[in-house]
């Protein structure tokens, strides 16, 4: 529990400190969902094997919220659900995206870096596997009036993993793919839809 608390505190602190570096007022805020995540819990081949790869491995209820600045945005993501009948999955992500090519406010191509806390718990034997995973993002965001659509590729880099299982200890390693036998590098796609709250002063 101590390790989990420290991880979550570290992630929140990281974003707060990064946000506080910004000299300008926020241009707005946003909140959205990952509309594919609820479908990944359906137990059949299509939804359970391949759909997770286009839901950024988020399942069940998956929401995101963030702060927009002139050319960047800080974001937090939270999700909870059952990826199959045996496990419960909780995730918390924080990170930053910076617009590389911006058509107009909130629209354009961006890249960034995130870190996620990933906790998979076996509901029968209560074994909890936790990981801290940093990852790169590249995406395109479209804002129409107050609705945004965000299409993003998320590529894992590294993993620090631990478990409450007996006789186990923490392990760290590079981690680029969940299906190494298919591809050594495997980014996840994610789609986010949500609402933008523009700050009149900031923009």
């Amino acid at each position: 529990m101590k390790r989990i608390a420290v991880s979550l505190f570290f992630m929140i602190f990281m974003v707060f400190s990064a946000v506080s570096q910004h000299k300008t007022e926020p241009a707005g805020y946003f909140a959205g969902i990952n509309p594919i995540a609820p479908f990944t819990s359906i137990p059949n081949q299509l939804t359970n094997l391949f759909l997770p790869l286009v839901s950024n491995l988020e399942t069940g209820f998956a929401a995101n919220a963030g702060i927009m600045f002139d050319k960047s945005m800080a974001e937090a993501r939270i999700s909870y659900g059952k990826p199959n009948k045996l496990y419960e999955l909780f995730q918390f992500h924080t990170g930053f995206n910076h617009f590389i090519f911006m058509k107009n406010s909130g629209n354009g191509l961006y890249a960034g870096g995130f870190i996620k806390y990933y906790q998979l718990e076996n509901s029968v034997n209560s074994v909890r596997n936790s990981s801290l995973i940093p990852y790169f993002t590249v995406g395109y965001r479209i804002e129409r009036e107050k609705i945004f659509f965000d299409f993003r590729l998320n590529q894992n880099i590294y993993s620090v993993s631990w478990s409450n299982q007996e006789n186990t200890s923490l392990n760290t390693n590079f981690h680029f793919s969940v299906y190494d036998d298919i591809s050594p590098v495997l980014p996840y796609l994610s789609v986010n839809i949500g609402y933008v709250f523009k700050n009149q002063k900031g923009s």
Binding site: L46, L53, P83, N129, S161, Q165, N167, T168, N171, V178
Partner: protein, 286 residues
């Protein structure tokens, strides 16, 4: 169109898509290893200080279409293993090695036997002669049905476990095998071993049975064409060692990789071989 109407339209389409996907239907008793379970690295497993050990030989065998030749191959393999290490206590063979695997039902029916029968009588003699546990997959004939079965023998040659495959693959269905809902835990020295055959790893019911039984070992039998897969995460799911024997070679249109491994309860593959008819010996502890 204002933003509110657009939002409502999006929500409406979201629920419509939900309905369509749910109408596609959920598969019962379905628990395939997926990307969610493979995320992150596996943790280190530290061998406990203990006196409970089990020396296991895991085998990949090239099978003949003739049952009598397979019996000879099994006998020769046991002799090789025991000459390599007389301390071996369990030899684990692959799925349905009494004959070829992905064949039609008339062939499977010709190699299938009742249990006990001549095939298991011979294996029983080998177990007794070398005083070891043996785990062998075979085609079984019982009350007019064909079963894909895993049989476990103790060092006295007694049958201590008969497990019939729960979750059939299309190859099993073409071969005329029937499924049977059964869970079997056998005692091998101080270890509780849950028996599984290949696609049984995808069964939710069997997984829960073995999790509740707190097994130490998943004693499986595979006929797997693929290389290193994520099957080892079954170990982590169960918190148990997995013994993964296999077949090797080409049988008509099917080719088997010969992948064999032992994975620890955290899901790490601790020893493996691939692309050959082979065996290795590993000591499991608890």
């Amino acid at each position: 169109m204002n933003a509110k109407i657009k939002s409502l339209l999006i929500i409406n389409q979201f629920f419509l898509l939900s309905g369509v996907l749910f109408m596609m239907g959920c598969e019962n008793d379905y628990l395939t290893i997926n990307a969610f379970e493979a995320e992150g690295t596996t943790v280190n497993y530290n061998l406990p200080d203990t006196t409970s050990t089990l020396q296991v030989a895991v085998v990949s065998l090239t099978c003949s279409k003739q049952k009598s030749e397979n019996l000879q191959k099994i006998s020769e393999c046991i002799r090789l293993v025991m000459s390599a290490n007389p301390g071996v206590e369990l030899i684990s063979f692959g799925e349905a090695i009494s004959g070829w695997y992905a064949e039609n039902s008339s062939y499977i029916s010709s190699v299938a036997e009742p249990i006990p029968g001549p095939f298991t009588d011979s294996i029983s003699c080998y177990a007794e002669r070398y005083s070891l546990f043996l785990s062998v997959g075979m085609a079984e004939k019982k009350e007019g049905h064909l079963y894909n079965t895993l049989v476990v023998f103790d060092p006295n040659g007694q049958i201590i476990g008969i497990h019939r495959k729960n979750t059939l693959t299309p190859e099993d269905e073409n071969a005329g095998y029937s499924p049977m809902k059964n869970a079997n835990v056998v005692s091998i020295k101080d270890f509780k071993a849950g028996l599984m055959i290949c696609a049984d790893v995808n069964g939710e019911w069997l997984t829960r049975e073995y999790l509740n039984a707190e097994i130490d070992i998943i004693l499986s039998a595979f006929a797997s064409p693929i290389g290193l897969p994520s099957f080892n995460l079954i170990s982590r799911r169960m918190g148990a060692w997995q013994i993964f024997p296999n077949r090797y070679g080409t049988e008509d249109k099917s080719t088997y990789s010969g992948l064999i491994y032992v994975s620890d309860p955290a899901g790490n593959i601790v020893e493996h071989r691939i692309n050959s008819e082979s065996f290795f010996i590993y000591t499991i502890v608890k």
